[in-house]
């Protein structure tokens, strides 16, 4: 009985000693992330570097907490036709990515949504599966997406979302084998 009491006391002391530290670490990471949570609506211009072709886009970005210490980022893009969105040829692109904090560093790695009905495959980079990760740098949330193309050239996409007083500033760059091929810049405001 006495042994049990000593063990319980030891466990409580260890829990007390450890708890404030672990909570502080998690809270610091969540505080970084919490600044980006929200729904943002805005506009952006995409420039094809090779041709100089410019496209106007309407964008909606939603960032929400996901699981423990992760986030989900959803993005809807409406690509206008000659500046208009009520004419045939208008395009809609939707994407959603889930991230969780990396176990071995101060960044986030993409995870697949838990689905009990599908087998979880390992990422096969050579087969063209993207490798995605994200990091927070001051007021910027940066998402990287790396893909190996079938011909061996690489594609690196970098999405930078900078927190401003009004919403998020948007910047995107696509690099193919070391050359920038596309740039997107835009502004969004927080939607109520």
């Amino acid at each position: 009985m006495r042994v049990l009491r000593v063990v319980l006391l030891l466990v409580s002391v260890m829990a007390l000693a450890y708890a404030p530290f672990s909570n502080a670490v998690v809270e610091a990471q969540e505080a970084d992330l919490s600044a980006f949570m929200g729904t943002y609506i805005g506009e952006a211009n995409a420039v094809d570097i090779g041709t100089g072709w410019v496209e106007q886009r309407d964008i909606t970005v939603e960032i929400r907490p996901y699981s423990r210490n992760g986030f989900v980022i959803s993005s809807e893009v409406i690509i206008r036709v000659d500046g208009r969105r009520t004419v045939p040829g208008v395009k809609r692109r939707f994407s959603q990515m889930l991230f969780q904090h990396a176990s071995d560093g101060d960044y986030y790695v993409e995870v697949q949504k838990a689905d009990p009905f599908s087998e979880r495959d390992r990422t096969n980079i050579v087969a063209g599966d993207p490798v995605r990760w994200a990091k927070i740098e001051d007021s910027r949330l940066i998402v990287y997406s790396f893909t190996l193309r079938n011909d061996g050239r690489f594609e690196l996409e970098v999405y930078t979302r900078t927190r401003t007083d009004r919403g998020l500033e948007i910047a995107f760059e696509r690099v193919i084998d070391g050359e920038v091929t596309r740039r997107v810049t835009g502004q969004t405001v927080t939607a109520n």
């Binding site: 990396a102 960044y107 993409e110 050579v126 490798v131 990760w133 990287y144 079938n150 011909d151 061996g152």
Partner: protein, 186 residues
């Protein structure tokens, strides 16, 4: 110093242009021992300092794939006048992609001896591409702060030698190193 580097870089580019890249080559044409000098230059054209390195490249091509060994000796990085030696060794196997290879293991001064894999699992991803007369080796790593390190070494067969273009992509810039190598052993 900067002017000397710029002049040498111009010479390197001029030599490459004058001879031009060889026509489409077989991967076997890269086999052998190659030796020469490389020079460091920043991507925006501003010289970072003259850093002549003696570079030796060994390539062995057989049915199983390609074995690449690489050694660079530099005075400029040296502390207290000591020479530094930079080495890399990797064996590449063909993939389903045309002219695309991957390496399962890599050995280098910076990485040590390590298995390759998914960069978000803390392993470097190493692959190579052969197209036309150029063989390019790539390495991608993700640092513990989430930053990336992407290196691209291109070897192009030209008349009388091998032209080297090394491109280091960093989140906030790029570094270019150029050089010329001659075949010293078939």
């Amino acid at each position: 110093m900067a002017r000397a580097l710029a002049a040498l870089a111009v010479v390197t580019v001029a030599v490459t242009l004058a001879f031009g890249a060889a026509a489409d080559t077989a991967i076997d044409d890269f086999s052998g021992r190659w030796q020469g000098k490389v020079l460091r230059q920043a991507g925006n054209g501003v010289a970072t300092g003259l850093d002549p390195r003696e570079l030796v490249v060994h390539m062995r091509v057989d049915d199983d794939g390609i074995e690449l060994r690489w050694a660079a000796i530099s005075m400029a990085d040296a502390e207290g006048g000591q020479l530094t030696l930079d080495q890399m060794q990797a064996a590449f196997e063909p993939t389903d992609g045309p002219g695309v290879f991957t390496a399962r293991k890599i050995k280098s001064r910076l990485l040590g001896k390590t298995r390759t894999g998914n960069p978000i699992e803390g392993k470097p991803f190493v692959w190579a591409r052969h197209t036309g007369s150029t063989f390019t080796v790539y390495t991608l790593q993700i640092g513990t702060d989430g930053g990336y390190y992407l290196d691209q070494y291109s070897l192009t067969l030209i008349e009388g030698g091998l032209a080297l273009d090394f491109l280091k992509l960093l989140p906030n810039g790029r570094l270019v190193i150029r050089g010329l190598l001659e075949r010293t052993k078939g």
